[in-house]
Every structure is written in C-alpha cells, then in structure tokens.
C-alpha cells in the first residue's frame, strides 16, 4: 500500500461481524494496539457487517443492501482499520463490483477504498513498525490469509512486524501456502472438504512444535480453532493483534 | 444455414476485452536463458540441454568421423535393419564409407508396409534446425522422408551441421523458407520419447524412440 496516512489522524475501527459477535477480544486487542501506537480511536456501533458473507455466496442483492449500510456508517470516518484481510478486500476490491452501475455510490466507494486498511498494512503505511516492541519466548508461525495475500497483496509485512518482538522464533513452512479451508459459507456448505483442507494446512506446521499460529483474519482463526484438535495441532491460534497485545504487555 | 455459418454467426458479438497491442514478441525479450550469439555458445547451450534430456550427443569434425559414430551406433542396438532418408548430408557422410551405406535401406526406394516398418531398429534423418535454448530438433516431413521414419524405430539418429543451430524457437518458426514448400507435417523433438504417467517417475521410450542421438558436424 503506497497510500500514506497523515500522522496521528483519527482511526475508526472496522469491526467485522464475526469479531463483533464471536471474537470481540480481537477487536479489543486491535483498539489497544492502535492506542499504544498513539492513535485516537473511534467506533461507530451502527456498523455490523460489510456484506461479504452474502456477496461471496452469490447473493448480490442482499450484499448490496448490507454494503449500502456500511457506506453510510463510515461516510464520515478518516481512516478505517480492520483486523480482517478479507473484509478489507471486500470493501476495496468487491464494492466496486457491487456498485459498478451506480455512479453516485461509486464515488463513495472510491473514497472509502483509499481510507480502508487491514491492520498490518496500516502499521506499514504509517511507518509504525519501529514503534512495536516487546518480548515473548515463543515459537510461532504465520498464516497470511488468502485474501490478505492475493487480494490485498500483503506479503512479508506480518513477519516483519512479528520480528520486532524479542525472543520470538518464527518457523517458516517449507511448503507452498495453501488455504485453511474457511471460505465463509463454503465451510458450512461443504464442511467435510473444509475440514480436510484445514488438516492439510496444519500439516505444514507438523513437527515444528509451535506455541502459537499467528493469523490475520478472524474467519481463518475461527476455522483453525475448530479444527485444531482433530488435526492434532497443540499450539494456540491467535490473531496478530492478540499476539502483539500479549507481547507488548509482557515487555 | 449450415453449422459452419451458425457457429460463425454466434461469434459475431461486440467484444469488450482489454485490447492489448499485438506486437509480435521476441523470444529474446521473454526468456532469461536466451543464449548468446557466438557459435560456440550456441553449440554449448544446445549440448547442455540435449544431454540433460538424455540425448546422445556427438560433436564431430569430419564426415569420416561422423560415419564412425554412425557405425558405432549400429552396434549398440539389437536387430540389423536400418533405414535412412536420402538427404545430401547423409549421402555425404556415407560417401566416405560405402559399406556403411549398404547396411541402410533407403526409405525413398523401399515401399514399406506398416508391419514391416516396425521391424527397423534405427531411423537416420537429417534436421531443419537445432534449437539451442531448449535442445530441440526441428524436423519437417519433407526432409525426414515422411512421418514414420523419425518415430517408429527405437533409435532415432539425427545428423546436422552447426550451421543449423538457431538460438530459440522463434527463429525457426519465423523462417519463411522453412514454412514454404510442400510438406504436411513438422515436429519439434525435445529428447527421446518419455512418460511420467506412473507416479511421476520418468521413463524413456514410451511409444516413440527410446534413444535419440545427434551427430553434429562442423561444416
């Protein structure tokens, strides 16, 4: 992301529905992190969801309804930061698809595109990586979500952020990245395939004896946690911001 | 309306694809391993690729030496029926060793039924081009005396001169002399026949020649 955010502007939290309803601690950890990095944060409770679940399942009429609500909610926000690569991609890459035929909304979408960030790319765009420090003696590995990687182009950012934490040993799998199997409603429609995919993905960390698997998308986290025990994965699955919260406290 | 016309009519729709400029590309701009131009470098690039593909490579200085290599190859196979096309280069090589020539049947002078053809253990042909970047041999039916000679016998021997080496495939495919003329079939041969259909294990000699030998003559 080349867009530069002006220093210490106000950040509006973009809390995905899954975080709002199921994993609020991720939202709290992100707020905590942004605050530590010196931001004034705000949260508009009218927000609920970006519409991705409907969009991905092919229900574009409903997705448009939800997305329109989202556009209203964030009309005023300076910068919008989310703990999810796929929700960010929804706004940045898929809203233009949804509203392609609607000129007035397209203007709003275009402005939103420039203001919406996934948390790790935000830290990068803001040059805040150096301000992250902490200590944790743990062995970790990273799962960069598919949407974060392929839709947003987030690459080594997560790793470099984690490298700021002393004591952490990062395990890099020797196999190519594969999807964890979440895929939104996919994992509910085709649960057996989704489980087997998680199992294959966990295999990449076999033998590494990880303490923590660090992930940057709540959907993947939810899925990984559900599958960990049957896949024989012993470590914890944490969001990047949860991990940083731990590390920065114990520093 | 015929099916032809209906299909063509169905394809008459406005096209919204991004128009890319269709400049003819050049291999040299796309391939990082595009070989350098000197003759030695081209030969070396060809040799390295050809060997890596399990080809048998012989660089010879004279026709006599070429004939010697051919004679050795005859000894390396079972069976004693060998076929050759009648091309100037082969004739040239044979001219020094008439006994060698006698061991070969000239395909243009023998009309062979398929079953009989299958009994030959060597097919000897010339080539149109050798492609340095990929270690390939380019061959048309007009110079290889048809389609079967270069594929049915278990050992395919190719004789060629260093002049025939081109850096990359585009040079061969854009050559107008190559494209003109009466021929119905051409093939780019990259190594002996192979398969990896069983557990990705490489096996040579699936249906075509198990062995491919190249005798490269300094002109």
């Amino acid at each position: 992301m080349s867009t530069q955010v002006k220093q210490n502007s106000k950040v509006s939290l973009f809390i995905p529905c899954l975080v709002d309803q199921v994993l609020p601690e991720i939202g709290l950890a992100m707020a905590d992190l942004l605050r530590k990095l010196g931001y004034e944060i705000s949260y508009n409770p009218r927000q609920t969801c970006c519409g991705q679940p409907a969009f991905n399942a092919g229900h574009r009429t409903e997705a448009r309804t939800v997305a329109r609500h989202f556009l209203q909610t964030f009309a005023e926000a300076d910068y919008i930061v989310s703990p999810s690569g796929s929700c960010t991609a929804m706004v940045r890459n898929y809203y233009p698809v949804l509203f392609a035929k609607d000129d007035s909304l397209m203007t709003q979408v275009k402005s939103l595109q420039k203001r919406t960030f996934e948390i790790s790319e935000f830290i990068y765009a803001e040059n805040k990586v150096d301000q992250i420090s902490g200590h944790l003696d743990l062995k970790v590995s990273i799962h960069n979500s598919c949407h974060s990687m392929r839709e947003l182009g987030i690459d080594n950012q997560i790793e470099e952020i984690i490298r700021r934490i002393d004591g952490v040993e990062i395990f890099i799998p020797q196999v190519e990245h594969t999807c964890c199997g979440f895929g939104g409603l996919f994992s509910y429609k085709m649960p057996d395939i989704a489980s087997a995919m998680a199992k294959s993905r966990f295999e990449a960390y076999n033998g590494a004896d990880l303490d923590v698997l660090i992930v940057n998308d709540p959907g993947c986290i939810q899925h990984f946690r559900a599958e960990a025990s049957s896949a024989g994965f012993k470590g914890e699955v944490l969001h990047l911001v949860e991990f940083l919260q731990k590390a920065m406290v114990s520093a | 309306m015929s099916s032809r016309d209906r299909i063509l009519q169905n394809l008459q729709v406005p096209n919204s694809l991004k128009k890319e400029s269709s400049q003819p590309f050049q291999d040299s701009s796309i391939y990082s391993d595009y070989p350098e131009k000197t003759k030695e470098e081209l030969i070396e690039a060809f040799r390295a690729h050809f060997l890596a593909l399990n080809g048998e490579f012989f660089h010879v200085r004279s026709k006599e030496e070429a004939a010697e290599r051919v004679a050795e190859l005859l000894h390396s196979v079972e069976g004693n029926r060998y076929l050759v096309d009648s091309n100037p280069l082969c004739r040239d090589i044979f001219s020094s060793v008439p006994e060698l020539e006698k061991q070969f049947d000239d395909i243009t002078k023998t009309s062979l039924e398929a079953m009989e053809f299958a009994e030959y253990s060597i097919g000897l042909t010339s080539a149109d081009f050798l492609v340095a970047r990929t270690g390939s041999i380019v061959l048309r039916s007009s110079i290889a005396a048809g389609r079967r000679l270069s594929v049915l016998p278990p050992l395919h021997i190719v004789v060629a001169t260093v002049e025939q080496i081109v850096p990359s495939l585009d040079a061969a495919l854009q050559n107008s002399e190559f494209r003109n003329g009466e021929w119905s079939y051409g093939t780019i041969i990259t190594g002996p026949s192979r398969t990896s259909d069983i557990e990705k294990i490489l096996v040579l000699g699936a249906h075509g020649p198990k062995r491919l030998a190249l005798i490269l003559l300094d002109a």
Partner: protein, 460 residues
C-alpha cells in the same frame, strides 16, 4: 440422486481418504517443485510472459470468426477437410460417417479431452469399433474402466501397485511395480495397434490460423504414431484453441509445458497442415479437422465469461486448487475438473445441474495466481454463483436465510436484541447437524463488541 448430492457424498468419502490425499500430495509436490524451478530457469519474469500470452489470446477472441475462416481456408487448400460441429452429437456423427465410409474397424486415439467431452469412447463402443487409448495415462484409466482423473495427468490417482495389478489382469504381464517395466508393457501392448489401426484420432492443443495447422503436444510419441501410421487422421479441436501465428508457439509451447508439467518444452510438439503430400512417402491419405463449438460460442457471447476461452488446458489451476486436492478429479463428475471445470461446466452443460461446482471453492485465489493466460478464475466462480441466483438456479434455502440475515444485520438494535435468542437457538439445532458442522458452530461471545464498547469495558 442429483449432481449436487452426488458431489457432496463423493467429496465426503474422498475427504476422509487418507491414501488418496497422500498420493495426490506426493504427485503435486513433485509437480510444484519442477514448475517453480522451470519458471525461474527460463523466464525473465513469468508474469510478463503470462501477460504477453494473455494479450495474444485476447487478440484471438477479438478476431475469432476471421481466424477460424483463415484456418479453414489454409488447411483445406492442402487437401484436408474441415467440419464444423455445433454440438457433441454432431461431432460424433461426423466421426461415425467417416468410420462407415472407410469401413474402419480399429481406431487408435491419443490423449484428447475434447473427445472425452463428446463422449467418443462410449459412442465407438456402441458402434462396435475397436478403440485403443494410446497415451499411457489414458490407457490406464481405460483399462480400469474409469474416466480421466485430471485433464493433464489422467492417472494421477493411481499408484504403481494399482497399475501393476491392473496390468496383470488386463495385459497378462508378470506383476511388477517397476515403472519402466510397466511402461514397456504398455508399449508392447500398443505397438501393433498403431500399425494396424484404420483411423488415428487426436485432439489439438493449438490450431494456427496463418499456417492452417493443428498442433499436438505430447511426451510419449503415441500422438505422432497415430498421425503417421493410419490412413485417416481425424483431429478434433475446440474453436477456442486458436493462435494467430505459427511463431506464437515459441511462447505458448514453453508456457504450456512449464505450467502443465514443469518441462521447458514437451517432448514432441507436432504441427500438421494436411494429409500426405505428393512428395512424401507416407502419412494419412485423408485428414479431417472437426471444429467443435458445443457451448463455446455461448460463453463467447457473455461479456464476463468470454475471457475464460483463453484457457490452454494446462491443468495448473487443478494442481493449485486445495479443493481439487481434497476431493480428487472424479468427484467433479465432469470432463474438465478443478477451477476451470467448475466455471465452464455450468456454462456448457447447464447452470441448474452444475452450479453447485461454483460453490466448491473457498475463494482462495490460488488458481488465478498460477493461470498462464491470466484467467480470473476465482472471481469467475463468484460470478457463476451470482449468475445462478439470477437464473433462479441457486439454492433457495440459502438464499432465504441470507435474505432474513440481511434484514437483521443492517440494524444494530435488532442484532443485539437477537443475540440472546441465537444463543438459545444454537443448542437446539446442534443435535441435527453432522459432527463436522457442529464443531464449526460459532460460540457466541458473552457480549458483542458493540455492547462492550458501549459499557466502556476497556480503557479508551
């Protein structure tokens, strides 16, 4: 059982099949290593090569009717025949007529997914024609009474020992797990077929407009033999296999082989531009090219989907797809498997029957990343889901649920009001779900983030 239930049932079995998973993992790992190395070895920038190829294929789509006519004119000027087939049946009938005209008894086929698409094997069997699959992988699945598992690697799912037992039973050889010995057994088995067959049938990887030629890519030499020995050569090609110029092959052949198998070039790339000419000693007396539409022009007419016709059938998207790796090729029950198959099958064979394939995808985008002609595969799967809904072919159950959801989710008050209900609701429905669905049921947090924020439950 409809196609969707069949898919789910097979997928479940395959997802639990550990032997299958490990076999495919091994094959694809070795594929990936070779592909990565080859991309690095020869391309300055693989993505740039991909973009050039994409441009050339766009040029093809822009001029397809003209190029097809140019191809026809050139090829027929050398004595070959071009037949146009609007659908599978017409293509089969053309072949039936040729067989009858030549009183042919024996056909030797080389690997061609297009012949699979028109179900030629079944047709030839009905006609009582001896039909020899000559590609090793195709022979293996033919002997096993199966369909190809993968468009490029038909027998990817068979282990050495399975092939060994198959060959013992069908070819009467001694049991051996040596890949070379097995290959030689197939070679011996097919030798006679090549030299005695009346007709050779091949596919075409490319058809070339300016040269009036078909191009066949293969490693084994069976295709070459099938085009060299029999007196008649029939090639069947989808109309989208077009390239404008012969020279385009110097990009497309390495691109196809790199993505397909990780080879710099496939062993044999043959171009045929007619039957035996007067000056040649051998070759088929008759050459017929069947140009197959079979739904392609329908795809061509759809703005969003047209570019999928750039596909060169390299198989890379199948190998990259985590769903393919899990469920295997046969589960799709289609000619073309994996991401590309899940896009074109609903288009070619009906949205209602096949739209479920578009949902067999987690939208990870691995396919799009590897496609050598830049097809936006995972986004087209999304488009297919939407199209299915517009055509009223999608699941009503899910649509209704999402409609309800969209009404609630746009109102914060309702979301929070329904939370306690949902918490009660989940334990009630849980017993009706499979174990696998149960473990995926989200456990609602005690309070939503919004509620926590409002109650000021953490320092701001």
């Amino acid at each position: 059982m409809n196609n969707y239930s069949h898919f789910l049932k097979e997928a479940k079995t395959m997802a639990a099949n550990e032997t299958h998973r490990l076999k495919i993992k091994k094959a694809i790992t070795s594929y990936e290593t070779q592909v990565a190395a080859m991309k690095k070895q020869q391309f300055s920038d693989w993505r740039e090569a991909r973009d050039v190829a994409t441009g050339i294929k766009n040029e093809v789509l822009e001029n397809l009717p003209d190029l097809l006519q140019q191809f026809e004119e050139k090829l027929t000027s050398r004595g070959a025949k071009v037949l146009w087939a609007e659908n599978a049946e017409q293509a089969r009938n053309y072949i039936g007529e040729i067989i009858a005209r030549h009183n042919a008894r024996k056909v030797v086929k080389s690997k061609s997914m297009t012949t699979e698409e028109i179900e030629l094997n079944e047709y030839l069997e009905k006609l009582g024609i001896e039909n020899w699959e000559s590609d090793l992988g195709e022979l293996i699945v033919q002997l096993a009474g199966e369909k190809p598992y993968h468009i490029v690697t038909p027998a990817m799912h068979k282990s050495k020992s399975e092939i060994a037992s198959l060959f013992v039973e069908k070819l009467g050889i001694e049991y051996t797990e040596n890949a070379e010995e097995l290959t030689m057994a197939a070679r011996a088995h097919l030798r006679k077929a090549f030299v005695t067959a009346d007709i050779g049938i091949t596919g075409a990887n490319f058809i070339i407009a300016d040269e009036g030629a078909i191009v066949m890519t293969e490693n084994e030499g069976n295709g070459r033999l099938g085009m060299a020995c029999p007196k008649v050569h029939i090639a069947i090609a989808g109309i989208e296999k077009m390239l404008p110029r012969l020279a385009d092959l110097s990009l497309f052949l390495p691109l196809l082989s790199t993505s397909g198998t990780g080879q710099q070039l496939t062993g044999y790339n043959s171009f045929v531009r007619g039957p035996q000419s007067a000056t040649e000693p051998d070759g088929p007396e008759e050459m017929i090219v069947i140009l197959l539409d079979n739904g392609r022009s329908g795809i061509y007419r759809q703005e969003k989907f047209q570019h999928v016709l750039r596909c060169i059938r390299c198989g890379a998207c199948l190998n990259a797809c985590p769903v393919f790796r899990t469920v295997g090729g046969h589960t799709y029950a289609t000619t073309y498997q994996g991401p590309i198959g899940s896009i074109i099958t609903p288009q070619l064979r009906g949205m209602g029957e096949w739209q479920h394939l578009a949902h067999a995808c987690s939208l990870c985008g691995a396919c799009t990343e590897v496609c050598p002609v830049g097809i936006d595969l995972h986004h087209l799967l999304l488009e297919t889901r939407w199209q299915a809904e517009q055509e009223d072919a999608a699941s009503k159950k899910w649509h209704f649920a999402i409609q309800m959801w969209s009404k609630v989710i746009t109102k914060r008050k309702m979301v929070d009001a329904l939370r306690p209900l949902l918490k009660l609701f989940i334990p009630v429905v849980k017993p009706f779900m499979s174990a696998n669905q149960q473990k995926r049921l989200p456990e609602m947090a005690k309070k939503s983030f919004a509620q926590m924020w409002e109650k000021n439950e953490f320092s701001r």
